[in-house]
Amino acid sequence: MSDAVLDALRETNFSTFDWAIVIGYLLVSLVIGILVRHLATDMTNYIGAGRSLGSWLGIATMTGTELGLVTVMYSAQKGFKFGFAAFHIAVLAGVVTFFVGLTGFIVAPLRRLEVLTIPEFYERRFDRRTRVLGGFLLAFGGILNMGLFLKVGSMFVVGVTGLPPDGLALPIVMTVLLVLVLVYTVLGGMISVVITDYLQFVLLSLGMVLTTALAIRYVGWHEIFVTVRERMGTAGFDPLQQEGGFGPAYVTWMGILGLVGCAVWPTAVARALAMKNTTELRKQYMWSSLSFLIRFLIPYFWGICALTFIANQADLEGLFFTPAPDTETLEIRIEEGNASEMPGGSESAASQSDPPPAAAPSTEPPLQDLYAMPLFLGRILPAGLLGLISAAMIAAFMSTHDSYLLCWSSVITQDVVAPLRKEPLTAEQRIRLTRWLIVAIGIFVWAWGLFYEGSDDIWDYMAITGAIYFVGAIVVLVGGLYWKRASRRGAFAALLTGCSAILSLEPIRARLAALVAPLTQLSVDELRQAVFSSDRMNLASLLLTVIVFISVSLLFPDEPDASVVGESKGAQA
């Protein structure tokens, strides 16, 4: 990294007072874990907080979990690159969550069955084999999914505090944060998770409202819209325009992801299953729909504000954006598949007729756009408030980590190890195993974050690794709960078919396009954008899973005396 880049990152308002606020908050989290340790006496208390959450606390903890720092970071990146058009993802997430709250779709019958995890439902509705496979895929996809959380969260800390991003600072921040999360999660389980989630909610909601108001005041309400209009044209506002990087197929896929995020994703479902009853649960979902909207909307807006700020700072614009190339260079870049690195644009945005204005010439590669939002906050927020926001963001980071660690480790214990053992595990053995697994997953995430050299687009990485689990799970859950002819073999086959979502990974899509291109009139790039886009591939994978589930269930029905639970048979359990 050049001196100019390092100087730009070092220039922040973060002071000793801010460090004191951050460290104070971290210590409070640690003390909570130690204090509530004696309450985690059995597995229901340890992973379900004794099923005693009231609806207000449920809303706070669900928001705390789902509004992670990684969400804030990748959402800000989306807003920075795609402008207001990204807002549609937030709207869909909010609307779908409200619908789930209103109807109790998926989550209410699951809560009535009093299962602790989704694979446990698989066993009660289908069989043990389905539970073990479901648990394995869930843990595999989920652990991979959180693989970059630690690194991205630490990038925020480095960016906002002005620590040097290319030295030892990043691994040190990663290690310290991980150790703190591990200590209080291992000790207190869901009880300490709920308490820290509540603290995070209070800090974060205050911080988000204040920061948004300050950001608008600093860059100017009108200027924000003008900058997006000038840089991205109408595609910066209209999500249905293919040129903006989205389009109808993408919007459809985001609607499905909205449902997955609130009703199928295990960390969200874990909150539903910890609620006192289904009335409280539905209330929790209806209120949380606002949090599901806000958790994307505000970070997108911060990303757009960062874009406006950087576009108007000569020293910063050159660091984040490469100069606008001439037509010939542009064609070469598209051929090389690098168009997504274009300023303010996606793959297809690069082909817009009005390319963004030229930035200051630079021989450096553009700075990772993930740094844009923390750098922006580091420059506009005053000392004190910056510490509060950083503590809130670190709280967001920790509360997501603790819930995810607890969720995947308990799934491995409850749904993979326990069902495979001949001798049943005692409560103590289960808690001990879960604690060891939390530590093991933590070490994996630390190593993965340090050594994985992946694409910059975190959202794509997360959507695809998550899809390995949820494409099969959404079909099996909905089918198992609402279709009485759903069979064990159908469920097993659907879970396996759902793994086809892994074909949406960029390198695999590129190979498929190259393989098919000679058979068509289209070029490899045209195929990648028009046919093998990740949204279309994921939709195709979901459709295939539905077809397999229905066909196999009809061809191989269960024996008439098979014990069945769920809405489809009147929820006998």
């Binding site: 005693s52 207000w56 449920g58 706070a60 209070v202």
Partner: protein
Amino acid sequence: MTSWWETIWAGLLIVALAAFTVMAILVTIGGAYDLVRMLKELRDRPR
């Protein structure tokens, strides 16, 4: 010229921020009450 989309997104942002502020106040107060009750309940449960 301001497009329909610009008006929609600007309106949504203002309404969502206002609604979130109200919700945050309610959840902060209600959550504190729930939290105390939950801890008491867990403490009093037979081991």
